[in-house]
């Protein structure tokens, strides 16, 4: 650990892409209907609070990934199973991300391609990059962040020019009161995508600047929340709350409304590109976190478990559910039953132990 260092810019871009990831294209926070954009912002606030906790842990143990200090703090008997559970969680999340991506690709463009082929190609490209190392992944993200942002800007301008945006469709704000928004935040938005930042506890030891690092990541979270919120508001103002709510990939029909003088049209391939890029990074970050965990826990070289892991992820994604509906339903239930344990409960326990320990072991004056 600690040999490879990753710069702040790279960390910013990987965080941004990780957060935007699939959330940019999927139907996010739509439980609160027209006010989904608000629930993203509130969810981000909750997410930042959680991240503050992860950053605290990092500052106390700057050289160790999560699995290492979990064992140190909880002792090997409890700590090792906990660390193992986290590795399983990351592989599972990676598999779920892969399933999201491959199914949505199949729905959107490649109707007849078998899911297995799509998933296999995606996991292969991911494991190739990870074979080169985590810092390669982060450097790749820098390039793709630029591409995603350019596509975003381009689509935004084109949508405005084609006059499809009707901001009145966002009204009334909070028509059903605050409750549906809070409900959506509690059920979904603080976990997805912001709670998933727990994975960065595995990556943060690579930060080149310990002091500024967490701030940069938090800034990237905030930036991605604003982008997500703007995208959702855009979807609703183009399609209307109802159509957006019923679309599994609302960005797709939104972009397909672009039509400038009947000449520039059907630019929905951009959405497919954003989808592929997003899924790739979401999946790869979880994947690399699992690999770092394994190599740390079992003292194995990082690359040895790469291909076995990718096979596990591939089959997790395939066997996870029969239909996409089942997959989403499962995801929605995991979001407020299982994930909070990993993203809040265990980190909070670790924070308390760290705080207590550092209080007692602090050098006393005199």
């Amino acid at each position: 650990m600690g040999k490879v260092k990753i710069g702040l810019l790279q960390f910013f871009s990987i965080t941004l892409l990780f957060e935007l990831g699939t959330s940019l294209v999927v139907n996010l926070g739509m439980a609160s209907g027209r006010d989904a954009w608000l629930s993203i912002l509130i969810g981000c606030m909750a997410g930042l609070l959680m991240f503050w906790g992860y950053a605290y842990l990092y500052r106390k143990h700057p050289e160790m990934p999560f699995t290492a200090y979990a064992r140190k703090l909880l002792g090997p008997v409890i700590g090792t199973p906990v660390a193992l559970m986290y590795i399983i969680l990351y592989m599972n999340l990676s598999g779920r991300g892969l399933r999201d991506g491959s199914t949505m690709l199949a729905m959107a463009t490649m109707h007849n391609t078998p899911l297995f082929i799509l998933s296999m190609l995606m996991i292969l490209s991911s494991s190739y990059v990870l074979h080169k190392g985590t810092e390669v992944l982060t450097r790749t993200s820098l390039v793709f962040t630029m591409i995603v942002l350019m596509i975003g800007l381009f689509s935004m301008v084109l949508l405005m020019l084609s006059g499809s945006i009707n901001l009145l469709q966002l009204l009334p704000v909070l028509g059903d009161g605050l409750w549906p928004v809070i409900d959506s935040v509690v059920r979904q938005n603080y976990m997805f995508p912001f709670g998933e930042m727990v994975v960065f506890t595995m990556l943060m030891p690579y930060l080149s600047d310990m002091r500024k690092g967490p701030w940069v990541i938090a800034a990237a979270m905030l930036a991605s929340a604003l982008l997500l919120s703007a995208t959702i508001a855009l979807n609703i103002s183009v399609l209307g709350a109802d159509i957006a709510e019923r679309s599994p990939l609302p960005l797709m029909p939104t972009i397909s409304k672009i039509s400038i003088s009947d000449f520039i049209q059907r630019v929905d391939i951009f959405v497919v590109m954003v989808l592929i890029i997003g899924v790739f990074f979401k999946m790869s970050v979880f994947f690399t976190a699992a690999l770092i965990g394994i190599s740390e826990l079992f003292n194995l070289p990082y690359r040895r478990m790469l291909y076995p892991c990718s096979l596990i992820i591939l089959f997790t994604s395939m066997l996870d559910a029969r239909s996409f509906t089942e997959h989403l339903d499962e995801g929605a239930r995991l979001l407020y039953t299982v994930y909070p344990v990993f993203m809040i409960v265990i980190p909070v326990i670790l924070i308390i132990i760290t705080a207590v320990r550092s209080y007692f072991s602090a050098p006393r004056p005199g």
């Binding site: 959107a108 463009t109 490649m110 009334p172 028509g175 209307g240 397909s256």
Partner: protein, 403 residues
């Protein structure tokens, strides 16, 4: 090194094999296996088993451009029947030699018969299918089978569907009351509580005989001409009636979709005067604190120019123009009033007053939305219009002033 040899061989084979996957052509349909559909006509067939009769206007690419043209029709019409839209689409493949590609459908024409029966079932596939797109324009074929519309040869475009789209664009800029209505507009319209969408009508003028051959254009006056007509007013998903004249124009004004229209005014002494109203800005609001008795306020600001004034009016005097703009205001108010009354007559809030209510008083809306029809039928509205005549074009007084 020797040990690694089989591994290297395996890797090499793998490397050679992978590019086949990377081409991503699992789903590919080459261009010469595709037929681009430019328009779809949806008719009501007989009975349940043939409920939907879909006619696809397919572009014959060779005839549009290229040396391979055989002098045949530039488009071909194929028909499929089925209990559902998708079945009808699949059924049509028995006639077509290529895969029908729905990605470039520009117009969807629904027959009046089907529109009167209800269109909500057929809209589902149009939004669900990933090939079709939301920007296709929707029309209702007035008094005619929809199939006739798409089987009429047109002069200005070899592809009749494109001709229809261009007609809609020109008329929306010049004559006013038709405007672009796309698939998602219709879906949002159907969802208006107590209301419905409005959809452009289309019809064929003239003699249908030989309309689908080149003979149609051999005479100077084409025998049959596709014409964009009245607006079809819907309640929920059913066609209730056709809006013409003032009612249609007022409806377009209330939707704030007017680009320009000719306003004709009858002067008490001087006959007809025509204005080109080139800008109209409409703002709707509601005083809805009592949801049972809302008052809707329509504010409209218009700019116009005198286009035709064949009389002895003194157009150099600002006062005359002031008086004329007053009559123009009255005319606009009259149009909007007719439009709202027409909506009340059809008992359909396609204007979107209910939606306005929801946006300004969401709580009140919840109480009244179930019986919105009753409230809408008796609701009050106020129209504040203002119009200014900016100029009188290239002359001030008519030559009739000093004979």
């Amino acid at each position: 090194m020797k040990k690694n040899k089989p591994v290297r061989c395996l890797l090499l084979i793998l490397l050679l094999g992978l590019p086949i996957l990377l081409t991503g052509c699992w789903d590919s349909v080459e261009l010469n296996r595709r037929a681009i559909v430019s328009g779809v006509a949806i008719d009501r067939g007989e009975g349940e088993t043939e409920k939907y009769v879909l006619s696809f206007q397919v572009i014959v690419a060779d005839e549009i451009s290229g040396q391979n043209a055989r002098g045949i029709s530039p488009v071909a019409l194929y028909t499929g029947k089925g209990r559902t839209m998708f079945e009808a689409l699949a059924n049509a493949s028995r006639q077509t030699a290529r895969f029908l590609s729905l990605a470039h459908v520009r117009v969807l024409v629904v027959s009046e018969k089907l529109a009167r029966e209800g269109i909500k079932d057929m809209m589902d596939v149009l939004e669900r299918e990933s090939d079709t797109r939301l920007t296709s324009l929707v029309f209702v074929a007035k008094d005619q089978p929809a199939r006739d519309i798409l089987s009429t040869m047109t002069v200005f475009s070899k592809i009749p569907a494109n001709d229809l789209v261009e007609k809609l664009d020109t008329t929306s800029k010049q004559f006013g009351y038709n405007y672009r209505l796309e698939v998602d507009d219709v879906i949002r319209g159907i969802q208006l509580r107590g209301g419905g969408p409005v959809i452009n009508g289309v019809t064929i003028d003239g003699n249908r005989e030989g309309a689908d051959t080149n003979d149609n254009m051999k005479t100077i006056a084409p025998r049959a001409v596709i014409r964009v007509t009245e607006l079809a007013a819907f309640k929920d998903d059913r066609l209730k009636g056709w809006l013409t004249g003032d009612a249609a124009l007022g409806t377009a004004l209330l939707h704030n979709k007017i680009k320009g229209y000719p306003a004709v005014i009858r002067h008490p002494h001087e006959g007809y005067i025509t204005f080109d109203v080139y800008q109209s800005q409409v703002e709707l609001s509601v005083e809805g604190s009592d949801p049972e008795h809302p008052v809707f306020i329509v504010k409209i600001i218009q700019q116009a120019a005198v286009k035709e004034s064949p009389n002895s009016l003194n157009l150099t005097s600002p006062k005359t123009l002031e008086n004329l703009s007053q009559t123009l205001i009255e005319d606009t108010v009259q149009k909007m009033r007719t439009a709202v009354e027409a909506a009340k007559k059809y008992n359909s809030d396609y204007i979107g007053f209910g939606q306005l209510m929801e946006r300004s008083n969401p709580r009140g809306w919840k109480k009244v939305k179930d019986h919105w029809e009753e409230i809408f039928a008796h609701c009050e509205y106020r129209i504040d219009a203002d119009a200014v005549i900016r100029h009188t074009d290239m002359r001030n007084n008519s030559f009739q002033v000093n004979p």
